[in-house]
């Protein structure tokens, strides 16, 4: 789903303007953040530890107070219309903070009531089944595994049927299988129209789930971009040519190109810019033919989001 599509069709469901947050000690955690989030999208906020991701989420959800700037959720100011805005939001915190001596059924029901919804045992049952905790509904929370507790936090956040879900490092401490289950759940939520904002350290997670990527470093939102166009814009592609006969050295005819010789001379790697007017692939292939170098296979690879992320943060 393209950002442009959201922009053309809908008003942002979360709009952040000139947001600053300075803690009492003087540390400025957020610096002039501007961000619009559109209904039904999944946006991933990437950033190193201490970049300001959690502070941003906490401020939108009302846990931390903004120093300056405005935030609207569903078109309403989060301070003036806190009842409306907060009832639209579900938050899954980073830490596994649970009531150890309660049961999943009790704590999820409590969350629903806290967010102003009447009791609905059928819905609580559905949520617990969605996160595969129905069988554990009457167990003490302290007896649950870390992954189960993480899913329980998601169930609590979904208990009041929010339109926006914040997932703060949802995969922290979760094994690969559970992580994939969680991704499936997130996709199902998005299909039901829920807007999802997640922070993550796992680039793979953002790459798998997000429509848009925001990169935060040192409290600044240094980039917000549609994932695909970000990878196209900043990503480099490589053409890998598997040769029939190994080369001892790069022939002079190929030295003009950005080509490396790898795998004991069996592979030629040509790096090109996808955004350039000409990729140069045809010219490289022509040069190979003229140099009588034949290959038996070719493939392309693209920079991962992780490469892009690391580069952006280093530049910031």
């Amino acid at each position: 789903m393209e950002k442009q599509q959201f922009e053309q069709k809908q008003e942002p469901i979360v709009s952040i303007k000139n947001l600053n947050k300075t803690y009492k000690g003087g540390f400025q955690a957020l610096k002039n953040i501007n961000l619009d989030i559109y209904p039904g999208e999944i946006i991933a906020l990437l950033g190193p530890n201490g970049a300001g991701k959690t502070t941003l989420i906490s401020t939108i959800c009302g846990i931390a107070q903004a120093t300056s700037g405005t935030i609207t959720v569903g078109g309403k100011d989060i301070y003036k219309d806190f009842r409306t805005t907060r009832s639209l939001i579900g938050l899954v915190p980073q830490e596994l903070t649970t009531d150890s001596f309660e049961t999943p059924w009790v704590t999820v029901s409590f969350s629903r009531g806290l967010f102003g919804k009447a009791k609905d045992p059928a819905y609580i049952e559905k949520v617990l089944k969605d996160v595969s905790l129905w069988e554990k509904r009457d167990n003490m929370i302290r007896t649950l595994s870390g992954g189960m507790k993480r899913r329980l936090l998601i169930a609590k956040a979904l208990s009041h049927e929010p339109r926006i879900l914040f997932l703060d490092e949802p995969s922290a401490g979760v094994d690969v299988e559970l992580r994939r289950e969680m991704w499936q759940l997130v996709h199902r939520l998005r299909e039901s129209g829920v807007t999802i904002i997640l922070t993550t350290h796992y680039i793979e997670e953002a790459e798998e789930m997000a429509d848009r990527i925001g990169v935060i470093a040192n409290g600044e939102l240094i980039l917000v971009e549609d994932k695909k166009s970000l990878m196209q814009k900043l990503g480099k592609k490589q053409l890998l040519l598997e040769l029939k006969q190994p080369l001892a050295a790069l022939p002079d005819a190929l030295k003009a190109f950005e080509i490396e010789l790898k795998d004991d001379g069996y592979t030629l790697v040509y790096t090109f810019d996808t955004q350039a007017e000409r990729t140069g692939i045809t010219t490289v292939l022509d040069a190979l033919r003229e140099a009588h170098i034949s290959f038996r296979d070719l493939s392309t690879t693209q920079s991962s989001l992780e490469d892009i992320f690391v580069r952006l943060v280093e530049e910031a």
Binding site: Q65, F82, G113, L114, F115, G116
Partner: protein
Amino acid sequence: MNLHAVNAIYRFEMARTRRTLLQSVVAPVISTSLYFVVFGAAIGSRIDQIDGVSYGAFIVPGLIMLSLLTQSISNAAFGIYFPKFTGTIYELLSAPVSMLEVVLGYVGAAASKALALGLIILGTATFFVDLHIQHPLVMLMFLVLTAVSFSLFGFIIGIWADNFEKLQMIPLLVVTPLVFLGGSFYSISMLSPTWQMVTLFNPVLYLVSGLRWSFYGQSDVNVWISVCIIFGFLAACMAVVGWIFKTGYHLRN
């Protein structure tokens, strides 16, 4: 008003009492019964009546007040401190609830528990002494006002405390001594004039005295002063709680 939230908090807190019935109800009842056995029967039998009331009966309002104050404070303090300690406070802070609703939920539950315990202790007392309550409605008013105002006070302590030691500090080091020195087990007329004057600065004296008036129609200080004191304390606690929510003190970053 988010009544579902008030109800959710209230029921959640009351459920904790049901889970910890031994600690919440049985232990205070046993300790109060021991007071009756020791002070009422063993020592009290050697003490003359005080203002026409047997010593065992005389200490009943003080013992109820002792339980009411300590339980109100500890229930409310623990109720709000525990989510801070475990981190689940994030949910409360991000929920569509106002200050009033949070206070109604937590303080309402703490006061209910303390009030129920006060009435259980009153019932327990009837096994040890003959009780004739002259002004039962006034007694109920004092119990309710005390439970609510000291639950508010406990709520403030729970927000202020950032460790378990602080949580226990004021109930153990301030409130309990004030109750013991506030005429719970004696009439201040039994003290020297100097100590009588000192005791008048003890706010708990007015609570015990007011409650005792509702039982026996007699008190160390005028009952209206007691009523004013408790309303003043209630107003002060409400003002502090209002300030806490306005500033986010120890709650929001």
